[in-house]
């Protein structure tokens, strides 16, 4: 797909074609910004890595038209079952509520994710993906751009980029070249990750065992993946001999005990991992932005690594794009740290707690955990203390300098400023679609209409606002009734779920950012001046 028509001076250089770098390049393409993506590997890595992708990640990828493909290929699992020894203590349902385009979670191998992202990139004119190109050094030019040294086929060349997205993973070359570090905790527990291909389908559920007899009392996890592949995740303790543990016969003996002797399987991939919970002090260094594992590393319990990284680029790309287009000041770029560092901390906290619960270190933690398990069997309150992973959630940028104070007449119902939007089924004419399909990747106004007379007056108001605010490109009107002869921008909320989830009344207005987080909202239609102020705040003006 080589068609680098802009010399060696891309606006944005993305280093790393993992899921996060690729998602960044796609999102930039959506904003019509040129990117060059380089990855040192000549092809996609087949190793066992991420499998669980969250609703929020799917909604973000929906903006580049990928959600359908992910959902179609992925395994949608809804049930999580938790065992103590061989006894099921409880189970939970992930998908309590219907009425969302994307399910709460799907499982899809990371290599499929990367393949789908790459296929999509080819549909855009701008991005260029160069495989087998390794970044070896980076420095800043006098005019604050990035000078990047790249090695390819034993040759070296230089690229000068206005911005660099460092998505080069947990061992980031760029981080090292800049002499930056990640700080946090390292867990000395080793985990054996085995992907096996089975000859029959398994129930679409996640099973987690604490202290099962089949695995010497350590924890074990079983997940389903597409193509009849199972992910088995076994805690091995701290003092393991890697060579011994990777021995196929030994692995098979362990797998047999979980699957039972009647299941035929093929070993797909075996690996050993240990995990850290750590992050860089800041993610932005001049024109260089660290995203995904390059910026922060978490343990995999909770699926917060990949999903957290997708949220990074969701936050970053519209900001950089707006600045490149000259529509926002560079001050907006500082808010990447402001918004994403607390998000990383939330992920770190949760994944550290899960890891802590799985690997109790003190006698007190062993005792309390035992009490929790025993009480859980008859007293459901205790189940909330059991921590086999707290699954990734969309971060809420509440209190961010870009986000306006909430209108108190909402009584904190609906979607708070800073939170990401909530989907709902809606109708255009007779056709059902989804709210997330209708909101562009630009600033948008979402208005709610319950009365005929508001339906008549509100388009003029919204047109005027869109005309006055540079980046506000779109408005939508969600109506509680089917209105005759209305324009394409009228969406009929037949189920009432949009009104309910957005806590809307007649005349309610939400200002939605390009990343589909709420910048501000008003229960009753605000003056244009009020809207303008909220908009200016949301781009750091």
């Amino acid at each position: 797909m080589e068609k680098l028509s802009f010399g060696q001076k891309p606006k944005v250089l993305v280093v790393g074609a993992g899921p996060i770098g690729l998602a960044a390049a796609l999102e930039f393409s959506n904003f019509e910004i040129q990117t060059l993506v380089v990855d040192e590997l000549s092809e996609i890595n087949r190793a066992s890595k991420a499998i669980c992708w969250s609703q929020r990640s799917l909604e973000i990828l929906n903006r580049v038209g990928l959600a359908e493909q992910f959902i179609k290929k992925g395994s949608t699992w809804k049930k999580g079952r938790v065992f103590k020894a061989e006894e099921e203590i409880y189970n939970f349902n992930l998908q309590v509520e219907a009425g969302f385009k994307a399910p709460a979670f799907i499982n899809l191998q990371q290599y499929y994710v990367e393949q789908f992202l790459i296929d999509k990139l080819k549909e855009f004119e701008y991005p260029v993906l160069r495989r087998g190109h390794k970044v070896v050094d980076i420095s800043l030019t006098k005019d604050n751009r990035a000078l990047v040294q790249i090695e390819h086929d034993q040759d070296m060349y230089k690229v000068i980029a206005d911005y660099v997205v460092a998505a080069d993973g947990v061992r980031s070359t760029i981080r090292k070249a800049l002499e930056l570090e990640m700080q946090g905790n390292y867990f000395d527990e080793q985990f054996l990750i085995v992907d096996v291909k089975v000859n029959r389908s398994f129930p679409l559920e996640r099973k987690f065992w604490f202290q099962p007899k089949f695995h010497d009392g350590q924890s074990a996890l079983l997940h389903v993946q597409p193509d009849n592949i199972l992910r088995i995740d076994l805690q091995l303790g701290p003092n393991m001999d890697p060579e011994l543990e990777l021995d196929e016969e030994r692995v098979r003996a362990r797998v047999n005990k979980i699957l039972g002797s009647d299941v035929d399987y093929k070993l797909e991939w075996i690996s050993l991992y240990s995990f850290s919970c750590k992050r860089m002090q800041r993610f932005r260094h001049g024109p260089i932005f660290f995203v995904g594992d390059a910026a922060h590393a978490v343990s995999p319990f909770g699926a917060r690594g990949g999903n957290g990284g997708i949220q990074d680029i969701d936050n970053l790309v519209w900001k950089v794009s707006s600045v490149i287009k000259g529509k926002a000041s560079r001050a907006l770029l500082d808010t990447y740290d402001e918004e994403r560092i607390p998000a990383a901390d939330e992920n770190l906290l949760n994944s550290a707690r899960s890891t802590g619960f799985m690997t109790p270190k003190t006698q007190a933690s062993v005792d309390f955990r035992e009490a929790v398990f025993e009480l859980s069997k008859t007293m459901p309150f205790a189940r909330d203390f059991i921590n086999s992973g707290r699954l990734s959630q969309p971060y809420k940028y509440i209190g961010s300098s870009l986000v306006s104070e909430d209108d108190i007449s909402f009584c904190s119902d609906g979607i708070l400023p800073g939170q990401s939007i909530l989907d709902a089924p809606i109708f255009i004419g007779r056709n059902q679609t989804w709210l997330i399909d209708q909101i562009a990747n630009a600033f948008s106004l979402v208005a709610f209409v319950d009365e005929e007379k508001t339906a008549l007056s509100i388009p003029e108001y919204l047109d005027e606002v869109c005309g006055q605010l540079d980046l506000v490109e779109q408005y939508l009107v969600v109506t509680s009734k089917r209105l005759n002869g209305t324009s394409k921008k009228f969406l009929y909320d037949a189920t009432g779920l949009a009104f309910e989830r957005w806590a809307a009344y007649d005349g309610t207005i939400y200002l939605v950012r390009p990343d589909h987080h709420i910048a501000a909202r008003w229960k009753e239609t605000p003056t244009i001046l009020e809207l303008k102020q909220a908009y200016r705040k949301s781009i750091s003006l």
Binding site: G356, S365, T378, P380, F381, F385
Partner: protein, 70 residues
Amino acid sequence: MNADDYLTQINNITDPDQFYEDLIQAHDGLSANQSQQLNSRIILLMANQIADNRRLKELITLAKMSLDVT
């Protein structure tokens, strides 16, 4: 919801994970004896918050029943 539900069915703590972490961390670096003492003191302080004798007795009974030694 009946009174028993409130005791055992629903976790009423605002942030259970935070509480659990605080509880476990409080024991870090303590000897076995100190840990026991810490637990005893926490229980007495919490009991003082619950205050009601009837409910305290219920809780003690529930905990003991689950131990299977009555």
